[in-house]
Amino acid sequence: MSDTPTETEDAPDAPDAPEAAVEEEVAAVESDPAREAVLAQLTSAFGEAVLASHIAKGDLWVRVANDKWADIVGFCKETLGFRFFSFLAGLDWLNNTNLSGEKLWDADAEATEPLPMVAGYAGGDTRFQVMCRLHNVETNIGITLKVDLADEAPSVPTITEVFAGADWHERETWEMYGFLFDGHAGLRHLYLPGAFEGFPLRKDFPLLAREIKPWPGLVDKEPMPGEDADEDEEVPAE
């Protein structure tokens, strides 16, 4: 995790910039000086704890080390001015064939092999991630911070000390994903009844409605009159 800062190799348009040398390449691809300045400040303050980053379409993603999570969020708030706490949420990168691909839309489709697990922007080594979105109301820049969580007993330090508003978000993420937030004063259920078993937003949690009944939205399998002719040029190549 934190000891492998340069291993992530994303798509060509998703460059990592853990070191200052790589940042110059980023500038050549897409110029976004405001966000690069933010990233440079983060990297100079935390060095290796900033694992990977991604700047695209006027937005900034940064993946940081698990043990430095609360410190980096605090640094973003106090020093970088990201004072508006937008949200905190979990991510599960597991590919569940029942909940993705053709099988989801068509019960008769061939069940495909589960795709390899690929994390999103700024990469990731593990199945579970927590992301936190902060906003700077003065410069109007948003930042998405991500952190990897271990597969077994996933946990991450709490940020309720930094943002009091993270309390409910962490409670929600805890009950929906089963992530532990170390140091959170009271991880109680927020939405679900107390006796609920399982973690609903994990990708391996079955959606019962889809298990017992195929997708009802798939009704117009036959082409409408006159649609045959132009179908070939409209439908993108698959």
């Binding site: 909940l99 979105r133 109007n140």
Partner: protein
């Protein structure tokens, strides 16, 4: 011979149990405070929010909101829907301003696909967005009076909201759930005669705002009950992620409509003002929303004047597949900042949708802001924070 000796064993044990229960009650009564349940069915909660408050006399020791009575699991359901189908779900998040819920999701999908709606669609989207705001906020402006014992304003609010809903219905076909936004544009153009009708309604809404000014804002009781009550300083508001009028009433001059210039909407083409208030109390939250309603009518008037001609749909494939990527788009919805974090794996439907709804953050401040206030002010403060249950529970 005591009374207890004459009775059967069963009665004896019942008597002892009763004595013990009484003792317990006495202990409870002597203890500091009393627990009071507000809700889940309470008119002030706009739905089914339960709030457990611990009281010491008339004062709140602590308050603990209990949401979840209406949790529908939209984030999970979005994962098994195709992109055009998601709007049907998210319509039902903030049901008073439904159209505004669709827009950020569609914008996020468009951003991932690298397309943009044509100018006319952007203008109409913005007009309908602001109409959703009017339909939502007018109800708040009247409802706040009800929480303080003034019944009249809410009837005015329902009367004038009806005209706005009629407009939304005649343009989209749905009063509460338009489901009108499409990836790449809109379902239909505006009907004939709609613009002239809309301008009449905007006049009515402005008249309604003036009425609220004289009925409520200038009222002595209203001011006494709201000024200096439920004060949220700007730093705390930012910490909890309060947004919308709640944030601006705490003196933070940030409105995503004005400041987020990258999103493809038409607010930047209109001339309007962002109102803030330095006090951060219940009164300022009401006042800011009242001013915003007026600004909204101005935006609609100007955009309808400058409505560009052209198509309302850009060219999109018949089967919408969104390329791999992640996008977060937020807009300034009636209740505050609403955003969708959409993760796409290049499939027909999204891989993950995180819905950042405004009321969730807005009401999570309740334990902080309700501490130490008096019971009647609990209702005022909750009403002035203004939440919709669907927006908390999603």
């Amino acid at each position: 011979m005591t009374v207890v000796d004459q009775v059967s064993d069963w009665q004896k044990s019942a008597y002892i149990a009763g004595q013990a229960a009484d003792a317990r009650v006495n202990v409870e009564l002597e203890a500091e405070g009393m627990t009071l349940n507000i809700g889940p069915q309470h008119p002030a909660t706009h739905g089914t929010l339960r709030i457990v408050v611990r009281l010491d006399g008339e004062q709140v020791l602590w308050a603990d909101p209990v949401p979840g009575y209406m949790h529908r699991g939209y984030e999970k359901l979005c994962e098994v829907r195709k992109y055009p189908q998601v709007t049907t779900l998210v319509n039902r998040i903030d049901w008073l301003g439904s159209f505004a819920n669709e827009v950020p999701f569609i914008l996020a999908a468009e951003q991932l696909m690298g397309i943009e709606a044509p100018p006319r669609a952007q203008y109409i989207r913005t007009v309908l967005f602001e109409m959703a705001r009017l339909a939502n906020i007018t109800l708040f402006l009247g409802d706040m009076g009800v929480q303080l014992g003034a019944i009249t304003p809410v009837f005015y609010a329902f009367r004038d909201r009806e005209h706005v809903l009629n407009l939304i219905e005649s343009a989209t076909g749905g009063r509460f759930h338009p489901n009108f936004d499409r990836v790449g544009g809109l379902k239909d153009d505006l009907p004939k005669g709609w613009i002239a009708e809309a301008k009449e309604v905007m006049k009515r809404v402005r008249d309604f705002c003036d009425q609220m000014d004289t009925l409520l804002v200038g009222n002595d009781i209203f001011q006494t009950r709201t000024r200096g009550i439920g004060v949220v300083p700007s730093a705390v508001a930012l910490d909890y992620g309060l947004s919308g009028a709640n944030l601006r009433a705490s003196g933070v001059d940030w409105d995503a409509r004005r400041d987020d210039t990258t999103i493809a909407m038409a607010w930047k083409h209109a001339d309007w003002k962002v109102w803030t208030h330095p006090d951060g109390d219940s009164f300022s939250r009401y006042w800011v929303r009242l001013q915003e309603t007026r600004e909204s009518t101005k935006i609609i008037d100007q955009l309808l004047d400058d409505l560009p001609a052209g198509p309302i749909m850009t060219k999109v494939p018949r089967i919408i597949k969104v390329p791999e990527g992640e996008a977060y788009v937020q807009t300034e919805n009636p209740l505050g900042v609403m955003g969708y974090y959409v993760v796409s794996k290049g499939d027909l439907g999204p891989f993950r949708v995180k819905i950042r709804s405004a009321s969730f953050n807005n009401i999570s401040i309740a334990p902080w802001v309700l501490r130490g206030v008096y019971v009647p002010d609990v209702i005022t403060i909750l009403a002035s924070l203004y939440f919709i249950l669907g927006d908390i529970d999603r």
